[in-house]
């Protein structure tokens, strides 16, 4: 197989980032902060790897099944946070994140058992997952001489669908109403538990799908490991923050972040630590927070001068 080319690599990395961001936007529009994407994505990777190595069915079906499994598992995981939020008022900011640490322990446990994730012939000192067979890997298409994963198309479709549902349907309207003014929403008969809980589950399922895309896309290697998610969840969350919860803006932002990420692998060859990506991305988010903030402060100053 020929190498995917840098554009192909960037696009294939952008896909999971975009899906995570799109899911985050769903929760954010409902006024909920899901910040456990890293753990949800890790579980999605685990489910996709488990099904991908087990299911003895033709190629398209394996991938479909592993994506479904990933979405269900991660959706349920986020559903736990939703359940705690709406029955016991546990803040979802805390529960989603703490559940992420538990998810990491669960997948590590999975890597110690052959009937779960551990490779049947593990030769390495650390526990690695079973190698994914070729039929469980996302096929690619050629675009201007680059091998691009079909995951990119899936990610774009998911984002467009989410954007449409949020902006143009009744359920999206209810969800946004809940986020903008929970009291009005309740008067209008919107159930916070159903709509808000649904939004949280959907955002978890999106993180799971992103995990499936990441696992089968090739950039993450061909087997499950305990650190396979390697910050994709966090970076997808930053994409959503940077896009100010607008799905259309998330598309170019995901691409920029993916470029920074793949670029850092090349940088690593020149001796720059690849963790610089996290730094640059976080700085980018902070930097973009500043101009509107300063504008707001100036407006306020002008306002008080005019009044006095």
């Amino acid at each position: 197989m020929r190498s995917p080319g840098s554009w192909g690599l960037t696009l294939s990395t952008a896909a999971p980032l975009l899906v995570v961001a799109a899911g985050t936007i769903v929760a954010a529009k409902a006024g909920l902060s899901n910040i456990g994407q890293e753990g949800q994505l890790l579980l999605g990777c685990a489910a996709a790897a488990f099904i991908g190595t087990r299911a003895d069915v033709p190629a398209p079906l394996v991938i479909t099944l592993s994506f479904l499994g990933a979405m269900v598992l991660s959706g349920l995981w986020a559903g736990l946070a939703a359940l705690m939020k709406f029955t016991r008022k546990v803040p979802e900011v805390m529960s989603t994140l703490l559940l992420g640490f538990v998810a990491a322990q669960i997948t590590t446990f999975g890597l110690t058992k052959k009937w779960l994730l551990l490779a049947t012939k593990n030769t390495s000192r650390v526990n690695n997952g079973q190698q994914l067979p070729d039929r469980a890997k996302m096929p690619t298409f050629t675009l201007f001489g680059n091998q691009v994963s079909w995951g990119v198309i899936i990610a774009l479709v998911v984002t467009v669908v989410i954007s449409f549902v949020l902006g143009r349907t009744t359920i999206g309207f209810r969800l946004r109403m809940l986020g903008l003014n929970a009291r009005t929403a309740r008067r209008a008969g919107v159930s916070a538990a159903v709509v808000g809980g649904g939004a949280l589950i959907a955002s978890g399922a999106a993180a799971g799908l992103a995990g499936g895309l990441w696992m089968t896309g090739g950039s993450a290697g061909d087997r499950f490991t305990s650190n396979v998610s390697s910050n994709i969840g966090w970076q997808g969350l930053l994409v959503a923050l940077l896009a100010r919860d607008r799905a259309s803006l998330a598309i170019p932002m995901a691409f920029v972040f993916a470029a920074l990420r793949t670029g850092s692998s090349f940088l690593a060859a020149t001796g720059v630590d690849r963790r610089i990506t996290d730094v640059v991305q976080a700085m980018l988010v902070l930097a973009l927070l500043v101009p509107p903030a300063i504008a707001a402060v100036q407006r306020r100053r002008r306002g008080t001068e005019g009044a006095s």
């Binding site: 016991r88 703490l98 923050l241 630590d273 996290d278 927070l289 903030a293």
Partner: protein, 311 residues
């Protein structure tokens, strides 16, 4: 089941359990005290994790540069304060979303400290253990409370001081008012956002102590994953404590016990699944929130930004 009960009894009657619980709890107690102040003023300060991590790193840097523990302490305080400065100014002066700022700072701190630590590779000199005469001889808890690295002893004046500052001073009254009813506070002439910023700075300094203690007092080195969610566990402790200081401190000690549990359990010769032990503190933090999140009354304006003129 009987064997399990016996092992728990063993753990509870061992001196080392209490010492180790206190070692793990100290970071959480420092952090939870600071977070409690910030939350009473109305800030859900999720950059607590970043503050602890940055302080843990800068104190390691200070120790590496000078070999002096006091300098390391100053560096740690400065590190925690720096993060709180960004958080406070961004969210309570520029009006940026406090969760967005907090999250971004968390990612930034993880990346930046790991990046610089890989370049510098700081060598840490640990703070010495100081035994307080007589008090250290109290059975069970004496060693735990009074024979520790001396940075831990900052806890004993800090907790009453924080209580006094928040409940018994004009400043504290303003601060709690900013967290309960910012509109009313504003009308009565309190600069709400200024008080909130100050509360975040106070939290930064407490987190600075937490991070310094973690590096200089407990671990003796800086590891990027050494903090691993402690800031969030401290946040859970504040919720567990129902936004009351003694509750938050108690919660932090309980979570400290669960953090220590794994190592104590194994040191006593018992076998347990390492992943179960690893997940235990987080599961317990979640479980206690399920049980107690509704019990306390959170500050009415917690997490809501204050903009004058808006209701």
């Amino acid at each position: 089941m009987i064997a399990f009960g016996g092992s728990i009894l063993d753990v509870l009657s061992s001196n080392s359990t209490y010492s180790s619980t206190m070692r793990f709890a100290a970071t959480l107690v420092f952090a939870a005290t600071g977070e409690w102040i910030a939350e009473r003023a109305g800030t859900m300060n999720i950059s607590l994790e970043a503050m602890i991590l940055t302080a843990a790193f800068t104190s390691a840097l200070g120790s590496d540069l000078t070999g002096n523990v006091w300098v390391a302490l100053l560096f740690g305080l400065a590190g925690g304060f720096l993060v709180s400065l960004i958080q406070g100014v961004m969210s309570h002066r520029f009006g940026a979303n406090q969760f967005v700022v907090g999250l971004t700072l968390n990612v930034l701190a993880v990346g930046l400290t790991a990046f610089i630590a890989a370049e510098v590779n700081p060598v840490v000199k640990r703070a010495g253990t100081v035994r307080i005469p007589l008090l250290a001889r109290i059975p069970l808890v004496g060693e735990a409370l009074f024979a520790q690295a001396w940075i831990l002893y900052f806890l004993y004046p800090l907790i009453p001081f924080a209580w006094w500052a928040v409940y018994r001073t004009r400043w504290g009254l303003d601060l709690r008012c900013a967290g309960e009813n910012p509109q009313a506070a504003d009308v009565s002439g309190i600069d709400v956002n200024k008080r909130r910023r100050q509360a975040v700075y106070a939290c930064g300094l407490c987190a600075g102590l937490a991070g310094t203690y973690l590096t200089i007092g407990q671990v003796g080195s800086f590891g990027a994953d050494g903090v691993s969610g402690r800031g969030f566990i401290a946040l859970a402790a504040v919720i567990f404590g129902g936004w009351v200081l003694k509750g938050a401190v108690g919660g932090a000690v309980v979570f400290g016990f669960f953090l220590a549990f794994g190592s104590v359990f194994q040191a006593l010769g018992y076998e347990a699944n390492p992943q179960v032990l690893g997940a235990l503190p987080y599961v317990m933090a979640i479980a206690t929130m399920i049980l107690f999140a509704r019990r306390g009354r959170q500050p009415a304006a917690l997490g809501r930004p204050f903009v004058r003129g808006l209701t």
